[in-house]
């Protein structure tokens, strides 16, 4: 193999990262395009000429198009920074302070799931309470009458009112219960919650699970046909095989329904490769890896699956030997794996390579030598000889002064550029990507990057693919994908004895959000939903150079997979040398460079988009993953009392034991749950009047609707149909001790003061189960305006509206429904003297 006869001048410094003051000589990216000065001046002149000044791929459409799947999966955007971070804080800090909001999360938890948080303690303290039904008066100071306590508490504001007066009873209770309630909840729950939040926040900052990408292209019998392999199905646990026909100059055709394999875990990485005519498919899940082989009918046949206890972080297929793979796990082990010979551990070190870093992410790949692997972690990349003594190796890349790394820089992705074609690039190059830069390292000259380029991607770069040259003798495109959907295309050149360099300026490709204009005009809510869907993180990238018919321009089809399971594709054509060149332009021509995007949406494109949208809208929004089990302490009070009288309460003993051992009290320790209502399911029913009317008006049929409506009203006094009891969903998750009199249709005043709007968690996990009671407002309001008020209240962000039942029932019905509902469970307190008091927590 040829080694570049003369390398780019570089200063070599050793040491920690952050010393980039001097050594970063290449400040400008255009310098990477220059051929470096040769020792022979005549070569230099030629070099100046053959720099491709404008190598641009023109997208055929302004944005990628969705592939129409047989079934669009439902997807919910996960937690956002809004859900996790502490809002507010010091105004005059120079920098905003990032603090996880554990307090709010825990208070939300206690609020929403107080039963879980407090029930065991409540049971433990059962002997200190005088429950309903125990008629005799106790003189013991450690026994509190629950009934009275609840009455006292009734006036409190939900989020704690500092001005509320405390009764002696409450004070006694707080002295009594404070230490237990405070410490046990804080020590157990808060610790776990904090741990979870840290994990979520780290995941939000960098979700490394899908490093490498979960979308792959398998070439088929003919060059035109291939298969896309990708996970789909909500949890990404169904591996799809979609046959695709690539027609030159035309959009790819998707043949039939995709075949699928159901797996038991979410697919994180999909790799395919053809070695010596044998096509293999490797899949990495969190704790499993599997490899399939494509047979003669291009049907995958499972070769082997293995379990990785510590969690697999990377898998790669050997480009040299058929059926050989490298996998690495969080424990720091790298294994060579072949279905015939099983696993062979070649390296193990739980520590990171260069300096200490907390990340357990590891990556393994192959090199030009079939028996040498690379091992990458956040701090560097090392080459290890699988046949040498264990533990030895040579650092290929080091996050440090050698590569003039910045402070805080870490490796995000490392890849062996296996598909380099020998006439373009030597087969010894490795790509290393960090948050800031991209490095090309040659394994024959470790530590000194051959090329460094500041990619400037605003999201973590976890996907990269080197493509074959679209034309023989052409440069090789390198596709980079950021997690937030950013795509960049660079061109690498470095044939023969010249050092690898960028050929031409890099280019950005349209992301999925650029396709928004191709969709029809939508209602804001649906528009928002679509936008969220298009913004879903990219977890897979595959690009194919379709076969060239004679004398046709080469093309490029880029497929991308989002975490919602959507596959989008985009066709690219190289722009002909139509760019106005300085020398080619007539003098005095002041026309601005005509680089306006020439691509536009064709009717077929927009039709495809609408069709996809239709399929998307058919998907019901995912119901809350977990709804709080209903806890009704009135119900409980009676039964508890009964139990106590029978003397069968052993729970306190169990709880004490658990606390002594410092472990969590599990359900199985407690025996059967207290009687609980079945989790409420979203009720479906006709939408309410307002949204129906809006929808009709939007569609331009407002007048007709009104007419219909009037007829319906005049024809019968009975309101049709009966309103859905959407409120019951929320109210049934909650217990009301305060009695609501159904006759007057009003409920006690209730402070609307909740957390600030927009500050609410949007995750289904923390779906709010408390509600603002519009009835509180409706007191003293003319009955004709109550409807409006109700509708307004229903739109408050506390409620998670679903398109199916987006409305609010009229006040009278709603309150009566709820009243009857709560009456079913609250026969005891119905005669309460303080109808205004509504304690919200059951302890």
């Amino acid at each position: 193999m040829d080694f570049p006869s003369s390398l780019r001048p570089t200063l070599f410094m050793t040491g920690p990262l952050g010393l980039n003051d001097v050594s970063d000589l290449s400040m400008c990216s255009w310098q990477n395009v220059l051929t470096q000065p040769e020792a022979q001046p005549q070569n230099l002149k030629n070099g100046a000429l053959h720099v491709t000044k404008d190598l641009l791929w023109e997208p055929a459409t302004p944005g990628p198009l969705p592939m129409l799947p047989p079934l669009v999966d439902s997807w919910e955007p996960g937690l956002t920074a809004q859900d996790l971070l502490f809002r507010g804080g010091y105004r005059y800090r120079r920098r905003p302070r990032v603090v996880l909001d554990v307090t709010e999360q825990i208070s939300r938890f206690l609020w929403d799931h107080g039963d879980i948080a407090f029930a065991p303690i409540g049971k433990l303290m059962l002997e200190n309470f005088k429950l309903e039904g125990a008629g005799r008066c106790t003189k013991k100071t450690t026994v509190v009458s629950v009934k009275k306590l609840l009455q006292d508490l009734g006036g409190h504001q939900p989020w704690g009112c500092p001005w509320a007066s405390l009764s002696n009873r409450q004070r006694r209770f707080s002295i009594l219960g404070g230490p237990i309630l405070g410490t046990s909840v804080a020590s157990h729950l808060a610790e776990l919650l904090h741990e979870e939040l840290v994990l979520r926040w780290e995941q939000l900052l960098l979700d490394e699970a899908c490093t490498g990408g979960a979308l792959a292209w398998v070439p088929g019998r003919t060059p035109q046909i291939g298969q896309l392999v990708y996970p789909a199905g909500g949890a990404l646990d169904r591996l799809h095989f979609q046959e695709v026909v690539l027609a030159p100059g035309d959009n790819p055709q998707f043949l039939g329904k995709p075949g699928h394999i159901q797996l038991q875990g979410p697919v994180r990485q999909v790799v395919t490769g053809t070695v010596q005519g044998e096509t293999l498919l490797a899949v990495r899940s969190d704790y499993h890896c599997a490899v399939w082989k494509f047979g003669k009918q291009w049907q995958p046949a499972l070769l082997q699956a293995i379990q990785v206890d510590k969690g697999a972080t990377g898998i790669s297929l050997s480009p040299h030997l058929p059926g050989e793979l490298a996998i690495c796990s969080r424990s720091g082990a790298v294994c060579l794996w072949s279905p015939e010979n099983g696993l062979q551990q070649v390296y193990k070190d739980p520590e990171t390579l260069v300096f200490r870093d907390s990340s357990s992410w590891r990556w393994a790949d192959f090199t030009a030598h079939p028996r040498v692997l690379t091992l990458g972690d956040r701090t560097g990349v090392k080459m290890i000889d699988t046949q040498g003594p264990p533990g030895c190796g040579l650092l290929l890349f080091r996050v440090g002064a050698e590569a003039s790394c910045q402070k805080g820089e870490r490796v995000l992705l490392t890849q062996y550029l296996r598909h380099s074609s020998p006439e373009c690039l030597p087969p010894t190059l490795h790509l290393v990507c960090t948050q800031f830069s991209l490095y090309l390292v040659d394994e024959r000259l470790p530590l000194v990057p051959m090329l460094k380029w500041n990619h400037g991607l605003p999201s973590p770069i976890l996907l990269a693919q080197l493509l074959p040259p679209p034309r023989p003798g052409c440069v090789q495109p390198l596709l980079l994908g950021g997690q937030a959907g950013h795509l960049q295309l660079l061109h690498l050149a470095g044939e023969g004895v010249s050092a690898p360099r960028l050929a031409g300026p890099p280019q950005s490709l349209p992301s999925r959000t650029d396709s928004l204009p191709a969709f029809p005009l939508l209602e804001p809510k649906i528009q928002w939903r679509l936008q969220e869907r298009l913004k879903a993180p990219t977890i897979g990238l595959a690009a194919v150079v379709p076969p060239l018919p004679s004398a046709s321009t080469p093309g490029l089809v880029v497929f991308q997979l989002s975490v919602a399971g959507d596959v989008f594709y985009q066709q690219l054509r190289p722009q002909a040398d139509s760019s106005p060149r300085r020398d080619a332009q007539p003098p005095g021509d002041t026309r601005p460079d005509c680089r306006a995007p020439t691509a536009s949406w064709t009717p077929q494109d927009t039709a495809g988009c609408s069709q996809w949208l239709k399929a998307l809208l058919k998907v019901p929004l995912a119901p809350p993953v977990w709804t709080a089990p209903t806890f009704n302490h009135h119900h409980l009070l009676g039964s508890m009392e009964l139990q106590r009288e029978e003397g069968v309460v052993q729970q306190p003993g169990v709880l004490r034991e658990a606390m002594a051992q410092g472990r969590l009290l599990l359900q199985r320790d407690l025996g059967s749950l207290p009687l609980a209502d079945p989790p409420p399911a979203p009720e479906s029913g006709p939408a309410d009047e307002l949204s129906e009317r809006l929808r009709e008006a939007w569609a331009g049929r407002g007048a007709a609707w009104w007419e219909r409506r009037r007829q319906a009203r005049t024809s019968g006094p009975r309101r049709q149909p009966r309103r859905p009891k959407r409120r019951t969903q929320l109210s049934s998750t909650f217990s009301f001790s305060g009695h609501v009199d159904p006759s007057d249709g009003t409920s006690p005043p209730h402070s609307p003061e909740g957390p600030p709007a927009g500050a609410l968690p949007r995750s289904p996990i923390t779906s709010p189960s408390q509600e603002l009671t519009p009835d509180a407002w409706s007191q003293g309001i003319p009955s004709e305006r109550r409807q409006t008020l109700h509708d307004y209240m229903a739109k408050l962000p506390l409620q998670r509206d679903t398109p199916g039942h987006a409305g609010t029932p009229p006040s009278s019905q709603a309150s009566s429904t709820r009243a009857t509902h709560s009456r079913q469970h609250t026969p005891i307190l119905s005669g309460s003297q303080h109808p205004r008091k509504k304690p919200r927590m059951g302890f």
């Binding site: 390398l7 400008c28 000065p37 956040r378 910045q406 800031f436 000259l445 400037g456």
Partner: protein
Amino acid sequence: MSRAASLPVIYSAQSVIGMSDFSEELKGPVTDDEQVETSVLSGAGMHFPWLQTYIETVAIGGKRKKDFAQTTSACLSFIQEALLKHQWQQAAEYMHSYFQTLEDSDSYKRQAAPEIIWKLGSEILFYHPKSNVETFNTFADRMKNIGIMNYLKISLQHALYLLHHGMLEDAKRKLSEAETWRHGEKTSSREILINLIQAYKGLLQYYTWSKKKRELSKLDKDDYAYSAVAQDVFNHSWKTSVNISALIKIPGVWDPFVKSYVEMLEFYGDRDGAQEVLTNYAYDEKFPSNPNAHIYLYNFLKRQKAPRSKLISVLKILYQIVPSHKLMLEFHTLLRKSEKEEHHKLGLEVLFGVLDFAGCTKNITAWKYLAKYVKKTLMGNHLVWVQEEWKSRKNWWPSFHFSYFWAKSDWKEDTALACEKAFVAGLLLGKESSWRSKNRPQTIMADSFFLAWMAICMYSLGTGDRLEIPLACLEMLRTSKLDGGWAPVPLE
């Protein structure tokens, strides 16, 4: 391997554009509780450039960005976007507005601004269809003096730009200007930059020199112009050596400089000087292990007709660094010709080493050498050597080199290569017992040849329509003759 100590990296919540954002971190370890907490949360020291966007979605306090800062940062992102879409004209228009950042009241940003402007501006001017060298010159000269801290870097890059456009004289002038520039105190980093600038100047002088040298070679010695040109050539050499020699003592990759410097030294007969430069470049521990350093030294020694042992010792080191280099075949020839037995052994190792690499599998010369040399080694009763080499390869070479797939495709593409490979396969995959009968060397070879022939048979017929014969051959190879680990080859 030395492990750098874990750095006290402090986490910063701001997005990174230039180096300014780090300046606050450089103040030293901060004991503020917030810093500790956030560094735990953000994965101990890793910097997230996208964190800022998350923070912006949540109002979490901190000073609000001023309108000025907002517009500047928006403008910056517009420029970057336009650059990535190759909209040079638009980028240039945005750049006009971006100059306001030079007036930023934030001193960090103000200091970083010239560098960012230079980076983006030079990029726009480099690609803009209507920009020309004069525009670029004007821009560079202005930027040099605005960002006084970047004077040297910008000068150097300006010179490279001119060099790229073939304007050697202008480039040289820019470098001379930069060389004499003095401002503030001398720092080590600035000294290195000045060295680099001088070296580039030296390189440019070398270009002129080599042009003159070519002229000189065309002239007759009796020509009246000869002495003048010769004088010129001499003068240049002296200047260049001063310029380049300082830089190449600093650790780094200085291939073009070393190459031209050595050429000049050689021309003037300073062989010892040239050798010293090259030896230092190749063997200094502080330098990266640059294969070119060894290649240059080897080529120099070869030109100087150095003894074989010396050449071998140079290539031995290159072999350790890059066993796949094409000089390895030359190395093998040298080793083969050597008298020492250990060299003969190394010669075999080198050949095997070359063929280990993915880029060298189709190198017919290497296969030819290997076929010959394995045969020779076996004849010379050094079966152990072959066994030693084969031991680590027998579990993967068969499927890497001698698979049915390669047999077929090699035969189609390059019959000669297929034959050589078949021969080697025959030798290596043959029964080891047949190598061992020392007293009858003739039989050994016959046996091996038989296997090789069979292998060729298989190769040649593998492409044909009749598959029975290769099948039969394979079966024979598998059952009777082979125990060396012939991979199960898939047959269609």
